[in-house]
């Protein structure tokens, strides 16, 4: 079993839809949770990070962490075609400082 599980998609939604992206994990030592966006042939770009459980909002993006369920989510409101990319979740082990990435979910927002 992988430490971090993420549905690879692809996920296609119409413009303006609310998008929900999710990851599950198995390691209780993960304390920091990140979401990266990766456009084709580019490096990952950090969107948001959260410490422990809770919500964090930044513009159209909201990150949620539920440590009791070992489940994290990224919501994108009013999705735009420019949001079309692969979204990677990542988690950092607070003891080893090691990042573990999910496989990424490919999102396509249709105009």
């Amino acid at each position: 079993q992988k430490e971090v599980e993420q549905d690879p998609g692809p996920l296609s939604v119409p413009e303006g839809a609310i998008v929900s992206l999710n990851c599950t994990y198995s390691n209780s030592a993960f304390q920091y949770f990140m979401w990266y966006r990766q456009y084709s042939r580019k490096g990952p770009e950090l969107l948001m990070y959260t410490y422990s459980s809770g919500n964090k909002e930044d513009g159209r993006f909201t990150a949620q962490v539920d440590k009791s369920s070992k489940y994290i989510s990224l919501f994108i409101r009013d999705s735009q075609p420019s949001d079309s990319a692969t979204y990677l979740c990542a988690m950092q082990n607070s003891g080893t400082y090691k990042y573990i990435f999910g496989t990424g979910t490919r999102l396509k927002v249709l105009a």
Partner: protein
């Protein structure tokens, strides 16, 4: 502020040949990471440096891969000899410190071994 700079962007080599990748992290970032990303997968850590010290190289295939970070700034990752299965994107990232969660990635080097 310049981001993480990697070169070359693309490299095509024949199997059994050597190859090297170079990374210049963001100024002031002590932590440097090399990741490998296979098609359709997330990045996987190869090695992490704190300044010039490799603090986590457990995932680095040491029979053919080597890395260095002289003076704790630039870094090079080398493969010798390359195998077909090494075809991937090699990503460099940096952060201010190992406990800093904001890691910034370069564009990556896309390696094709033929």
């Amino acid at each position: 502020e310049a981001g993480v700079v990697q070169s070359p962007r693309y490299k095509i080599i024949e199997k059994k040949q050597p190859v090297a990748f170079w990374c210049n992290p963001i100024s002031g970032h002590n932590t440097l990471y090399w990741y490998r990303q296979n098609l359709g997968q997330g990045p996987e850590l190869l090695i992490r440096y704190e300044n010039e010290e490799a603090v986590d190289d457990s995932q680095l295939p040491k029979d053919r891969f080597s890395a260095e970070r002289l003076k704790g700034v630039d870094s090079t990752l080398k493969i010798q000899p390359a195998e077909l299965g090494d075809s991937a994107v090699y990503l460099c990232a940096s952060s201010q410190g190992q406990s800093n969660t904001e890691a910034f990635f370069g564009q990556g080097t896309r390696l094709t071994v033929v």
